[in-house]
């Protein structure tokens, strides 16, 4: 378990003090995949670097399995870092070394015997699907292959945690997808906790089960991907989520609504999981004297759970509209009224 508690950090750049982190707290359980999302300069990379003590907090503390990182002497801290793998946006491979040598470095740092290194590197090459490329140099590899080498290198010493610093930001969409699949596999097969920092919401949507949204050095929203994506609270979260799950009415429909003379209620409904499979709208129409008209719908799958967002216009007398919202509440449909 990783516990980040009330961490603040400032940097001095050009004689100006920049607050990179302000009172950030986050608890990461074993086996989770956390996505830390935010625009550049939000402090997400600094937060990530707190986990392996590449950055040290000014205030607050970081705890790993119940022990504060600050309590470790430098030498022990180095062995802690060996239990935490890290991959980077620019891969940071040694350009003058072959794929084999790059992956072998962490093992050499551990003084692993040569035969064991050879066996482990072959195993890792197979895992990241780079068999037969061990004698290639980084300049002969594509971006995706370089990141696979980076991943193999990070996994060489069997870490418990993998930190990914914008690991897919320099890759094209197809390559990003294959790297994300690999990361998901690492999490499932090896049980490694993954924390990834990104500005791409698709990355979070694709593989994370937890998300923390950062802005101006603070975590403004955090929770399960399903909850945060299903019901984003902060404007910045809404901005991010909207790019993958739109939830706003098109302009022309808004204009039509302003012409509506009858009494109506505009509701945004959120169906999640099993609820999404029930015939809620059908049942409402059958039981309550209201007309319903779906103005907007978006359905997506997150963490193998169906999430449906509907904007429905219910038309009818006030009493029926009240009965409708009551029915929704009873059937665990999250709703909110939309103002036009």
């Amino acid at each position: 378990m990783i516990k980040i508690s009330h961490v603040s950090k400032s940097f001095v750049s050009d004689a100006q003090k920049v607050k990179a982190l302000r009172d950030v707290s986050l608890t990461i359980e074993k086996g989770q995949i956390w996505g830390i999302i935010g625009f550049s300069g939000a402090g997400k990379s600094t937060l990530l670097r707190m986990v392996n003590a590449l950055e040290v907090p000014d205030q607050g503390f970081v705890e790993l399995d119940g022990r504060k990182l600050a309590d470790y002497p430098e030498k022990e801290l180095r062995s802690v870092r060996k239990r935490i793998g890290m991959i980077f946006q620019q891969f940071n491979l040694l350009e003058s070394r072959t794929v084999y040598e790059n992956i072998a470095i962490p093992l050499r740092l551990n003084h692993t015997p040569a035969e064991q290194i050879a066996a482990r590197v072959e195993e890792l090459l197979a895992f990241v699907e780079l068999e037969g490329r061990k004698d290639a140099y980084p300049w002969q590899l594509s971006g995706g292959q370089k990141q696979r080498v980076g991943i193999a290198r990070a996994l060489a010493t069997n870490p418990e945690i993998l930190l990914c610093d914008e690991a897919t930001s320099a890759l094209d969409p197809d390559t990003t997808e294959s790297i994300l699949q690999l990361l998901a596999q690492i999490n499932q097969k090896l049980g490694i906790t993954i924390i990834l920092v990104t500005h791409q919401i698709q990355v979070v949507q694709r593989i994370c089960n937890r998300v923390a949204v950062m802005e101006n050095g603070q975590i403004v929203e955090q929770g399960s991907v399903l909850d945060v994506f299903g019901n984003p609270q902060q404007p910045i979260t809404q901005r991010f989520v909207r790019t993958v799950i739109p939830d706003e009415l098109p302009e022309s429909l808004v204009a039509d609504l302003q012409q509506e003379k009858r009494e109506y209620k505009l509701l945004k409904l959120r169906f999640q999981g099993e609820v999404a499979k029930e015939n809620i709208l059908y049942n409402i129409n059958r039981r309550i004297p209201v007309e319903s008209s779906v103005l907007f719908a978006a359905v997506t799958e997150l963490q193998q759970v169906i999430l449906g967002i509907f904007i429905v216009k219910f038309i009818g007398p006030a009493k029926s509209l009240a009965a409708t919202t009551e029915y929704l509440d009873r059937h665990n449909v999250v709703w909110q009224e939309v103002a036009v």
Partner: protein, 219 residues
Amino acid sequence: MINWGVSPEQLVLSAEQTLYMVFVALAIGTVLALLIAVTLVVSRQQGLIPNRRIYVLLNSLVNTIRSVPFIILLVFILPLTKLIVGTRIGTTAALVPLVVFITPYLARLFENSFLEVNPGIFETAKSMGASYWETIWYFLLPEAKASLILSVTTGTIGLLGATAMAGAIGAGGVGDLALTYGYERMNFPLMLFTVIVLVVFVQLIQSAGNFFAAKARGH
């Protein structure tokens, strides 16, 4: 038959003297320069272990020695030469000023080679739990290797030029041969011959340097 004005033995001897001065000074100079250059990049403000005092001290020392022209350095440090090798003249005596000359020169070239290394490598090293020493040994040196080889090549050629002046303290060598027998005796064929020998030396050194640098880069 061309009159070289010197015996073949003398020609061979001066070639040997030049090679001796270049390679011994180069070997010692490279080791010292590596130590200085590593210290410079490690102690600089953005380095692994920033230390302003050490950086400023070394940096000024390198600059100071590099400002003195070799021919002046040669005679200026004669007392030091005497102290170290016991004599002020001869081929071995010339090694002291040659080392003093080439060390800061190489140190500066090496420093540039190190600064070309992707800084992300150091963070990567740290994230792997590498100690400072391991970071230098497993990350900095291998990544700079190709560039270091080219720096040594440039340094060797500079050193070859400097050996010509070492004749001033009786060190001999090809350059001295050209000056004393070629220039002063107005022996043009000998002059031409020594120039050709030096050109060939430089070409060989540069080609070897390029070859090993490319090899170190994995090309």
